[in-house]
Amino acid sequence: MTEMSPEVKAALEEQKKNCIFCKIINGDMPSKKIFEDDLVFGVLDINPARKGHVLLMPKEHYPIMPFLPEETFRRLFEVAQTMCKSVKKGIVSTGSTIFIANGFAAGQQSQHFMIHIIPRDQEDNLPFSDLAGQSISDIAETERLIQHNLPIMVENHLKKNPADWHAPRDLEKGMKTSIEKVIQIVEQNPPLKDLIMKEPQEFLKQARSHPQLKPLFENIDPFEIVHHFNPDAVKTVEAKDEGFKIPDEEEKETPEDIEPEEEKSDSEDQMKNVSDEDADLDDIARLFK
């Protein structure tokens, strides 16, 4: 997935020379081999958490997960699925865990990327099941950051590797749909439409600062909405992106979620979408009462 620079490639060559797992894969060191094909290699861990603990790794030396080429990534997890079944059946367990440490701080001990496949039972006291911690409240920033980046990355990946279950989403087109949807929302909310007609400046301010409205205008410029309903106001409100200051946020209310806009294809999804929309409309309507 990540392109390697010549420097990185050279460093990897150096790592490979001292890599125990490269030696095991080459047969220069003994191991309890479970599986091998042209890309993937599986052995029993000599420091197992349970009997049947398997290490599955790419045969080529990659230090972390983002370096794996597509084909290797795909094969590794296809084999992993079957391996989970196999450890459960072979060792007679009711479940399994795949454990990955990406980087030293996460407990990665070898420079050869690998995944741990461990047979599991409910009462085995291994540390992989209790993943809960303290309750947190303020994650708006984190949420926005992931919400913005993750869909783009996955969508780009799916564009390169089309899947028959997935209707490709054009981010540009998605934006247009959002504008149309906001227009629709405004049409159905007379107080909101009123605000745009009478106090466009106030609407812009609200659109950019109000915790509930702000997510709605993450991808679209509220100025376009003003333009749609009140073209005359264009002269009176400040022009798009010109010295418009975002007012200080006054987060008196807890921000509620507004479902991200999405293009849905089949009718079932569309029906679901209608109810989501109603929820949005209610929220917005409440704001302007």
Partner: protein
């Protein structure tokens, strides 16, 4: 409680965990009810791990995580899900286990059982997919011989 969905497609959703070990921890789960990994199409397993891997990259590049753990649990009373945890040095989190001391015989038993489940011996092709190679066999015999010898030495030592 409202769910904080950070990614969604036809088959997947990724949700921020509200009671995490570390802020930014998220869970990737299939849409639909999948009690175990067997009930999921192989193609989808790969997709879920791709989403996990991209999520790890976002945590790494966007949130300043120094490393990430990706943990899939399934079965044993838990439906299939993948958790991604952003990590930093000395963050007080440890996924360590006390390595079991499993006797050689037991290890061989595990090797055979797991590899036979993975690829039943009758189906395995002689080339590159071999479960136990001739080399392994030779090694075993050597190990076995050595073990027998060791055993004998111990016996002799016991004789006054």
């Amino acid at each position: 409680m409202t769910e904080h969905i950070v990614y969604e497609d036809e088959r997947t959703e990724a949700v921020l965990v509200m009671e995490p070990k570390v802020a930014g921890q998220l869970v990737i789960r299939p849409k639909g009810d999948f009690p175990d990994i067997e009930s999921i199409q192989p193609e989808m397993i790969t997709h879920y791990f791709y989403v996990a891997s991209f999520a790890a990259s976002v945590l790494f590049e966007g949130l300043g995580a120094e490393a990430t753990n990706i943990i899939m649990n399934e079965g044993a009373g838990t439906p299939f899900s993948i958790t991604v945890i952003p990590r930093k040095k000395d963050d007080g989190i440890e996924f360590k286990w006390e390595p079991l001391k499993i006797p050689e015989e037991e290890m061989k038993d595990a090797q055979q059982k797991v590899s036979w489940e993975f690829m039943p011996p009758e189906e395995s092709a002689p080339e590159n997919t071999h479960v136990v190679s001739q080399e392994d066999m030779d090694q075993k015999t050597e190990e076995d011989n050595k073990k027998e010898e060791d055993q004998l030495v111990k016996w002799y030592e016991k004789i006054p």
